[in-house]
Amino acid sequence: MLEINPLIIFFAAIFTNNMIMSNFLGMCSFIAVSSEIKTSLSLGQAVTFVLTFTTLLNYMVYHYILVPLGIEYLRYIVFIIVIAAFTQLVEMIIDRYFPTLYHALGIFLPLITVNCAILGVSLFMIIRDYNLMQSLAFGVGSGLGWTLAIVTMAGIRQKIKNNPIPKGLEGPGITLIITGLMALAFIGFSGIVQIQ
């Protein structure tokens, strides 16, 4: 594996290898919660926060527990447990010490547990053999990339709110079509750098 500068990984995770636009991970909450910019930004922040820390935690669990014991194949289940526990812990902490933030994120935090982008990032980090700094950059970048995608989508959806859309395409239908068009636009970034 070539040593890629963490900064490159960071930007690549936002633009060229965006979790939603090039990997289509975390689609369910992306489609369900992208009707308003404000709420999607809240969800994006929460995802970024959880992604950053779970990537780091999973990195340590994988390299310091699973690898030495030779049980790497358990990574799927272990990563899921770590993500679920961490999300719950974060919810408790935010609820207690940051009531305003909890109020904004409250409903989205538990949703993050089942956001496949989070698990995806942890698994990609292993497949691509990233070191700690690279993983951190990848985690933060992926979170910001996910936020960028969902906020952009929310912006577009707010714009088209009052436009006539064929009945059968309202809601998730048109959102998926727009996602496809956005993904095409994101391909434009892909010539800049590739990280896989």
């Binding site: 770590v82 207690r96 409903i107």
Partner: protein
């Protein structure tokens, strides 16, 4: 063999550590200590901080109606929070109107007690308790209605007003995988505190009625919460008009039994309708009322009388029965129970003959 051991031990250790961490967090971070709860500016309770308002109230045996059991999906457990509930959560918004939000109404299953809190709940809910009844009797009284008689454990009593209802907690059974509460009116008089009686009609595919009709046997336990409801007998001098169809007979029966026992001889007319003679029930009890209560009159019709019935009387629906036999509604009050459609058209008929809407009390069986 070693692989299996290593796998099992490491997974257990990782899960165990995380579970331990979460338990510690739950004890420290999510523990808000004891908090004071002031109810209706008079009753003060000490509750565990961090719990939801609904579970704190249930722990103190104050039962707020909740059909979904605290999952935030029925919107029944509304409580007015005067102070200390924090901001309204996004999970509550779908169930609260603008007026609710302005008035401090919250969903008690979502609102957590994190500081001293002051709430307002209807006075009668203080009386609401959970009871573990034993089925004493479960017999058919006509082709579709069961007369359910439930006994309380020794030493326990229920206080209610004639006309109120209770909720039965239907357990899970084959074909029904979630516990649900269903409301049924009490047919017994309030003087009877140890045993309650209900009339439960079979509704095709009804979760609770199917359970009562096909699975519930004598001697079994049944959880009941109550009493609830603002439909009940009012003391006054007005002449009474009672209207019911089907199991709507239950609360009317409770009121009539209460009046019979207490020798209340207000002028009272009870309009009832059934499809045919087979659907009539409790007729011996009503005959007893007619005999002992000089001012009580029972008027009924059979809307689809069969040849066997040899019925010469009225064949019209209840609203037309009212129009035929009741000349004017002034200075009268009405007690009506049954389907919403019947109640709406009967109420219309009563208003037409001059009854004031404020004196029409009803319990719509929806």
């Amino acid at each position: 063999m070693n692989d299996i051991l290593t796998t099992v031990i490491s997974i257990s250790a990782i899960s165990g550590t995380l579970a331990l961490l979460l338990s510690i967090a739950n004890r420290t971070i999510a523990n808000y200590g004891d908090k004071k709860m002031l109810i209706n500016n008079e009753k003060e309770l000490i509750v565990d901080g961090g719990d939801t308002l609904l579970s704190s109230l249930i722990e103190n045996e104050i039962f707020i109606p909740s059909a979904c059991g605290g999952k935030g999906s029925c919107g029944y457990c509304k409580v007015k929070v005067l102070e200390g509930g924090g901001e309204v959560l996004p999970t509550e918004l779908g169930y609260l109107t603008k007026e609710d939000q302005d008035g401090g109404v919250r969903l008690s299953c979502q609102c957590k007690v994190k500081e001293d809190i002051s709430i307002e709940i209807p006075e009668e809910l203080f009386n609401v308790k959970q009871y573990d009844y034993t089925v004493k009797q479960n017999n058919l009284v006509n082709s579709t209605i069961k007369h359910l008689v439930l006994d309380l454990p020794a030493g326990k009593e229920i206080d209610f007003k004639p006309g109120q209802y209770i909720q039965i907690l239907t357990p899970t059974y084959k074909g029904n995988d979630e516990e649900v509460y269903r409301a049924y009116s009490l047919a017994s008089p309030p003087s009877q505190k140890h045993t309650i009686e209900l009339f439960i009609g079979l509704i095709p595919e009804g979760i609770c009625t199917t359970y009562v009709h096909t699975l519930l046997k004598e001697g079994q336990k049944l959880t009941v919460v109550g009493p609830f409801g603002d439909f009940y007998y009012r003391e006054s001098e007005r002449e009474m008009v009672m209207v019911a169809i089907g199991t709507g007979m239950a609360p009317i029966m409770s009121i009539l039994r209460h009046m019979h026992e207490n020798k209340i001889h207000r002028k009272c007319t009870f309009f009832f309708s059934a499809r045919n003679k087979q659907e009539l029930y409790m007729m011996d009890k009503i005959a007893e009322f007619e005999k002992d209560m000089p001012n009580f009159k029972f008027i009924y019709s059979l809307t689809r009388a069969t040849d066997e019935d040899q019925w010469e009387g009225d064949k019209v629906r209840v609203p037309d029965l009212i129009k035929k036999y009741l000349e004017n509604g002034a200075n009268k009050e009405a007690y009506m129970c049954g389907s919403p459609k019947m109640i709406d058209s009967a109420a219309e008929a009563l208003v037409e003959i001059g009854m004031e809407e404020a004196f029409i009390y009803y319990d719509k069986f929806e």
